[in-house]
Amino acid sequence: MVRTLLVRGMLVGILAGLLTFGFLKVYGEPQVDIAIAFETQMDLAKAAAARARGVAVQEQPELVSRQVQAGIGLFTAVMVYCTAFGGLFGLTFAFAYGRVPGLLTPRAVSLMLAALGFVAIYLVPNLKYPANPPSIGDPATIKMRTALYFIMIAISIAAMIGAFALRRLLIVRFGDWNANFIVAAYYLVIVVIAGFLLPVVNEVPQQFPAVVLWKFRMASLGAQFIMWTTLGVVFGASAERALTGGRVHA
């Protein structure tokens, strides 16, 4: 059964990847293009200033063309990402199903996992360290920024797992309805404290257009919403069929 759920998760991940790619191609790529045009302008201005001071400037060769990056490159990245998440989603479901009191049908478990996965893995970490288009971010700080981003994700996931453990304990005393709110508050308190304690990263250049930044971040958010929604809804239906042979309808 684990194998079936893993394979189905990855297949749904492929579907999610196709939808996500389509969305990003239309809504994300234009913002990336504008950001790269901005970056090029900044680089040219910097190079001109350096030359004026008599410093030789070396042109950086383009390793991968923009066309490839925006086409097959984006497609590959999104497909690998979504298929991998689909597989991990299937495995997480295999663990969670039958272990969350109150959630009986596979479809309900799948939808719950997707909603909470979206919140814990993307939404909350991105409120602290939002997605940035090209030309934002100092290459010298990439190690620190990547580490902070993954630390924030790790804290958020750990808090979410903790919330489930806590919910099991509280349910006896408070019932599942009230226990849900208590553990939601517990999760929020942990991530708010983490967000407060972790250092601020703001490397957005002063002149970077605000509208482009907003649209880029909305495109990133939309893509994640599409991926998680597809996983939650389609995998739920698929898993229900696999687990019950379509017998359960609730």
Binding site: M1, V2, R3, L6, L24, G28, E29, V32, L63, V64, Q69, A70, G73, L74, T76, A77, V78, V80, Y81, T83, A84, F85, G87, L88, L91, A94, F95, Y97, G98, R99, P101, L104, T105, P106, Y122, P125, N126, Y129, P130, A131, N132, P133, P134, G137, P139, I142, K143, R145, T146, A147, Y149, F150, F216, S220, A223, Q224, L243, T244, R247, V248
Partner: protein, 69 residues
């Protein structure tokens, strides 16, 4: 841990951990590695020399929310 506490309420019992663990470890690691290649390879850390992987997945890395250069 292999038997589930809530079995009677669920239409299908939980999958025993013994059955789940090998899949979770092996498939889980491979899938995480795949995400690592999209998200962080040749950025913060590098298993392969050069910048080709980074440049190839560049747009996806930005749009999927990872820090990139």
């Amino acid at each position: 841990m292999t038997s589930t506490t809530f079995a009677p309420a669920f239409p299908v019992p939980a999958i025993p951990l013994r059955e789940l663990l090998p899949w979770a470890i092996f498939a889980g690691l491979i899938l995480l590695l795949a995400i690592y290649f999209v998200g962080a390879e040749e950025g913060a850390t590098s298993l392969i020399s050069g910048m080709y992987v980074h440049e190839f997945v560049h747009d996806g890395r930005h749009l999927l929310g990872f820090p990139c250069h």
